[in-house]
């Protein structure tokens, strides 16, 4: 076929297109109707744990048997292990809630660690003025103060987000470091207490403030566990039955509809974030009063971040947070346990990391699918052959 220059491009191109299109092309697209997200997340998380635990022995010098044994006896296989799991789960579940409640409105509370620091700081500070008070006075006051501190700490990022559109991801996150600095100043300065073990510790809180231990079936845990197990239920009920919960549900699903219904969207956003901050502060206080007894940077160990991850993986479902919080606590406990046999806890961090990635893939699988396109074949057209 003779080719004129204005058409030559098109013919050349078309020949290329035909050859390219004769291969199947694959593409990632959104599903028209997402599959059950919750189910896929849960399955994916468990799969992730299984896979990474199965692969873990390859990275350790200890044998698989020793590894699994120590993990088991350090977590679910012994009283001490279970106690450890439950104790660790307290801040984890609270932080999970602190993240999941704002998450229902598509708000990210990445500053939970900072809220923990501030909550613990405030609780510590006020406890020094209440050294002569009885437990039933000092404890509620400390808890309350911690919640207020946490709420105040998240206030500026919240207002910046609601009124100026500034990403709360960055602002809440950066304030974590500021909170740590603040805590360090007080713990190494005005409240400094020398410590034989090394590390930074402030003056201890009065002993009346220590959370008492409960004895359930021979398991000894501080009663913070009641709060940790009870709050998800409380918030679940609030979501279902309270006006605030209803508004959060509707606005979270469709901000347009929320406005249409006359809801005060801004106020709901702010209130919800403040609750998240308060919960972070509460987690800090509970750690302070139940585990550390002294203000120290160790009052959180990336617990805030872990809480965020729990919240996202649980899809902001309160019971999901509860269960994932416990699972996470088991993993972290296992991390402590394997140090006994000489492995570094970093291994468990890697396990968690891999599990997370599985989790996100699970969710992606429920949302997306692969499509392939059939070639655009044109029967009988051979005019391009000569070129």
């Amino acid at each position: 076929m003779t080719v004129e220059s204005p058409r030559s491009f098109l013919s050349n191109y078309s020949r290329l297109a035909k050859s390219r299109s004769s291969r199947l092309r694959w593409r990632i697209e959104r599903r028209a109707q997402p599959l059950n997200l919750g189910l896929f997340r849960v399955v994916a998380v468990f799969l992730g744990i299984l896979v990474s635990l199965a692969v873990a022995p390859f990275f350790t010098s200890a044998s698989a048997g020793t590894l699994y044994n120590s993990m088991w006896s350090g977590t679910l296989g012994s009283t001490t292990g279970l106690e450890n799991v439950l104790t660790i789960s307290i801040p984890l579940i609270l932080c999970g809630l602190a993240a999941s409640i704002p998450y229902r409105l598509q708000l990210w509370n990445v500053g939970i660690d900072g809220q923990i620091y501030m909550g613990a700081w405030a609780a510590s500070g006020i406890s020094y003025h209440l050294t002569n008070q009885r437990s039933f006075i000092i404890i509620p006051i400390m808890l309350l103060t911690a919640m207020v501190a946490g709420g105040l700490w998240i206030l500026v990022p919240t207002l910046a987000r609601v009124f100026l559109g500034v990403s709360e991801v960055i602002t809440t996150f950066l304030l974590n470091f500021v909170a740590l600095g603040w805590l360090m100043y007080w713990a190494t300065g005005p409240w400094y207490a020398p410590s034989a073990a090394g590390g930074v510790f402030a003056v201890a809180i009065p002993p009346q403030a220590d959370l008492e231990l409960l004895n359930i079936n021979n398991l000894v845990v501080n009663w913070g566990i009641l709060i940790a197990l009870g709050l998800p239920l409380v918030f679940w009920a609030a979501n279902r039955y309270s006006r605030w919960g209803y508004e959060v549900t509707m606005i979270g699903a469709s901000e347009k509809a929320g406005r249409y219904a006359g809801m005060n969207v801004k106020r709901t956003l702010i209130t919800t974030m403040l609750i998240g901050g308060a919960l972070g502060g509460l987690a800090g206080a509970l750690n302070l009063m139940g585990t550390n007894y002294q203000l120290t940077p160790g009052v959180t160990n990336n617990t805030g971040f872990n809480g965020l991850i729990i919240a996202v993986l649980a899809g902001a479902n309160e019971f999901g947070v509860l269960i994932l919080g416990l699972v996470y606590a088991v993993l972290l406990s296992a991390g402590d346990a394997i140090q006994v046999v000489g492995e570094s806890a970093n291994l468990v961090f890697a396990v968690i990391g891999v599990t997370l990635i599985f989790g996100t893939f699970g969710e992606a699988y429920a949302r997306l699918h692969l499509v392939h396109t059939r070639p655009a074949d044109v029967p009988g057209t051979t005019s391009e052959g000569a070129l």
């Binding site: 058409r7 191109y13 035909k18 006006r243 699903a253 249409y260 396109t373 655009a376």
Partner: protein
Amino acid sequence: MASVDEQAEALTLRGIEKRFGELVAVERLTLSFKKGEVHALLGENGAGKSTLMNVAAGFLTPDEGEMEVDGHSVSFGSPRTSLAAGIGMVHQHFRLVEKFTVAENLAIGADDVSGVLSHRQLAERARDLAQQFDIDIDPTSPIWALSEGEKQRVEVLRTLSRGARVLILDEPTAVLTPDEADRLCRNLRGMAADGTTVIFISHKLNEVLNVADRISVMRRGALLETKDRRDCNIETLSKMMFEDHAASEEQLRHQQRASGNEVLAVTHLSTRDDRGVSALHDVSFVVHQREIVGVVGVAGNGQKELEKMVTGDRRPDQGSVAIEGVDIDGIRSALKAGLAYIPEDRIGTGLVPSQSIWRNAILRNYLEGPIKRRGMIRGRHARSFASELVARVELSTSDTATLVHQLSGGNAQKLLAGRELEQRRRIVVAVNPTQGLDIKAAEAVRKALSEACDNGLAILLISADLDEALGLADRILVLYEGQVTGEFTAQQADRDHIGMLMGGAKQ
């Protein structure tokens, strides 16, 4: 120039099928477009026009089908491929970078821009292109400062400058003022005369008749017919678009009602739109009990602002809106005063599809007892309220826990209408309520509105569809460029006269 019949085929789509899950958006469709013609693709919302054209332009991948440009096969699924084949599309939501200037937007992805660029160079290139295609733009202005019409011109210019010989426009006049729309149509005819194939998606009959050479009507994903412009008029077209035009003749008759007290009073309303241009100017009218007042006009003449102000979403610069004598101030106060609102985006705004029926049912009254008590929403009362509503509108399911997105579109609309049109409300603001509905559903909505009105409600109908308004309203006001340019009772209403006023004629 050769007549339309003798022109070559510029673009052929063959056997195109596109499904979204269960929904078949385009069904085995075959259609050809000729070189140098203006071809209108007509159909209601949801007919599949945009989907089809997005497939041609490479933004969607079809499940089946073939495409040819100038006789050569073109593969699907990539805007770059389609653009290289000469197919370009201007969408309803412009794909422009707000921060960049016009010149920069024109340069994105372009091959004829040098590797190292200078802004002067870009501006010059922009001016050259503007001249070449005879489209007026300001090269140095940032996009966010432009009007919708200006943005569209930039988008069109960009598509043409990338060598598009087939230019597809999706509902282009939806965002334009009548002046801008005229200008666009003139430009399009000019381009067609130069040999560009213009494909124009629309659901507006008179516009299509104005500008097209050939008209293809789509309905529910299938191509009904392609006709020459000369063989069409408004009646034949709307007959094709809607299943049974005869039925719509009936809708022109309606009940006579004795209207009651004044419910909604709009007084000397004036306001500017988001860009600071005057959108409404000294608009005043009243709506009485048992009366339907229809405000008609082509979209973009101030309806959006009127809608926002009457529902309390926005405060006017001047004037006031009062419901039963009480000035409203904000959405909450409007709702309290008895406002009911059926928005244009019924399912996306008026309902929350991912939530259950009962949660949606109480959207209006979740703050009132017996549903709310002391900060709690009482599920039992909420659900029984929802059950009553569901029964009243004869919904297909009686399980109030069903999620709204599981309902069919028609049922969802019924739910919304039933919730809004109930006796304790005083005034209903309905915006384009039958848009996109099939005959039966539209009929049901009309009936619901009419009955609600008989029962004592006042209804303000804001509509871009004259027939819809004529079928329902007791009084019709014409809105043009922010002012009321005509007022008619149902008996006085003359379709042609009103149509002309909508188009901008003065009396």
